[in-house]
Amino acid sequence: MSLIAEMTAHPPNAGRSAVAAFEEEFAAHRRAARRAWGIGTAIFLILFALTAWLGDFFDVRQVTNAEGEREWRWVIAAGIPRLGEYIAQTIPVLRWESLGADFAEWFWRWRVWLDLLLETVLIAFMATTLGVIGGFILSFPASRNLAPNAWVLWLSRRYLEIARTVPELVWALIFVFCFGVGPMAGVLAIGLHAAGALGKLYSEVNENIDMGPLEGVKAAGGSWFDQIRYGAVPQVLPNIVSYTLLRFEINVRSSSIIGYVGAGGLGQEFRTAMSFQEYTDLSALFLIILVTVIVIDFASEKLRHRIIGMEGSPA
């Protein structure tokens, strides 16, 4: 069955010109699209090659081989077989016969670690709470569709930008200087950074909401705050929850980095273990963090589904 033949027999004369018009438009469009793709791909490839070159990806250099001889090799080829080296150092000796003892030896500091883990999780919790409070409140004036006026929008956006553009580690350095070493500096540093990062994500969510309910509240005589509280918040809540939980997990991991500046948590232990060449401690710590991340990942999935299904009920 030739549909094409049938269809060409069928269409009215007016249609012919529509098809012809399309052919013209399509040809022009295809040319433009190809050019755009071509240019885009070219720019991307050039950037890619350039940065790869700057990043030593194509470097051929003299390396010391296993026998101590010097030879010319391509870095990547020479390095790939050695990737396991560092990890290998951190693998503990576990023998079947003395498994219990070996494990005890591996996790010899578990009491301290559990303490520090608790501290890490608490730092992350506090920091997330601070971040949510700061980010949440500011995300509304920082949304284009919700800001009461232009300068409030400008101010809150700049504030969030600064808070998130400065890396956590830098905030930590600053706060350690101000408040001394310890978890407090860590909490403030991660919290401030989280407020910036969350504020941006939240405000993007805010910018996508349906404005109808807000108008409904406004038309009933609600103030700006009422519009936000009743019209916007319920709409964004599910997204807020998932972003917040994701952030909590990130914060758990970054509070272990923050430990490098003495701001508390497991990071400090990491650092000490590393500098004392307690390599197997590193793998033990890694496992602890891994389990924590998995647990949080899992719990947050469950929590998210529960909260998203929840209704906003009064009283």
């Binding site: 409904g216 709409q235 009064p314």
Partner: protein, 266 residues
């Protein structure tokens, strides 16, 4: 309740478009007024001007002695409470329960803290429940608004409008996204309110038949201006043709447009 709503030479421009163009109109208390007109005629804009969701470019809106178009701050919010608005898309907060949605009608009365905490008095809750009950929706009070059907949602919107204790009710194509059965319920609800409580109703409609069936007075707009103002009987086919402009009519296949399942004796 003798305050007349008066539009005095009101205009609203959007860039080049004159959405509402030097409209003057008096609405007597207790009237049921239908506003008809083609898409883009300015019906929605007019209602939004009255509720002050948008500002007039020119002219004044008066309610009795009050100059509505000059209100600010608390007084403006009080005015919005006095003239409740119902939207085509209901504009409920779908993720909140029905009761809270109705209680939103009380927000103008509440202080900052109690409204942020979603805290309402028992009297207010009673009002809300009674309003819902009036539309047979009390059993759904604790359900999420988003889980209701369109018709139910629109009735929730009317209940919310009711608890505002308004003096005027503005409805912008309240039945445009409803099926006939629900549309009937909603229009009947508006008529009851108008009759029982004497609340003035101003309703935009896109269906002439509905306007004919419910409204004391019909106002037609065209190109931002008032084009016709009278009772249903004065709306002859010729007038209607002028209102909608001949070119605006499509020839519908009658079978498709009717959504009735069966011809029940009306």
């Amino acid at each position: 309740m003798v305050d007349v709503l008066r539009l005095d030479n009101v205009s609203r421009h959007f860039g080049e478009t004159k959405a509402v163009d030097r409209v003057s109109l008096d609405v007597q208390p207790g009237q049921f007024v239908g506003v008809i007109g083609r898409s883009g005629a300015g019906k929605s804009t007019m209602l939004r001007l009255i509720n002050r969701l948008i500002e007039p470019t020119d002219g004044r809106i008066l309610f009795g002695e009050t100059e509505v178009s000059a209100l600010r701050g608390r007084a403006l919010r009080a005015w919005r409470r006095d003239c409740a608005m119902i939207f085509q898309q209901f504009n409920l907060v779908e993720r909140l329960d029905v009761l809270t949605n109705v209680l939103i009608g009380r927000l103008a009365e509440r202080g900052f803290l109690s409204s942020m905490a979603m805290h309402f008095t028992d009297a207010e809750r009673t009002m809300a429940i009674e309003a819902l009950d009036r539309f047979d929706l009390a059993p759904q009070a604790l359900q999420r608004a988003g889980t209701l059907s369109g018709g139910q949602q629109q009735r929730v919107a009317i209940a919310k409008a009711l608890v505002q204790q308004p003096r005027i009710m503005l409805a912008d194509e309240p039945i445009a996204s409803l099926d006939p059965a629900n549309a009937t319920l909603v229009m009947d609800g508006l008529r009851d309110i108008n009759r029982d409580e004497g609340i003035t109703v101003l309703v935009n409609l896109h269906t002439l038949d509905t306007a004919r069936a419910y409204c004391d007075r019909i106002v037609a707009m065209r190109g931002g201006r008032i084009f016709f103002d009278g009772v249903a009987a004065q709306l002859t086919d010729d007038v209607v043709r002028d209102i909608y402009g001949l070119e605006g009519l499509r020839e519908f296949n009658e079978a498709v447009t009717s959504t009735q399942a069966v011809h029940v004796p009306g």
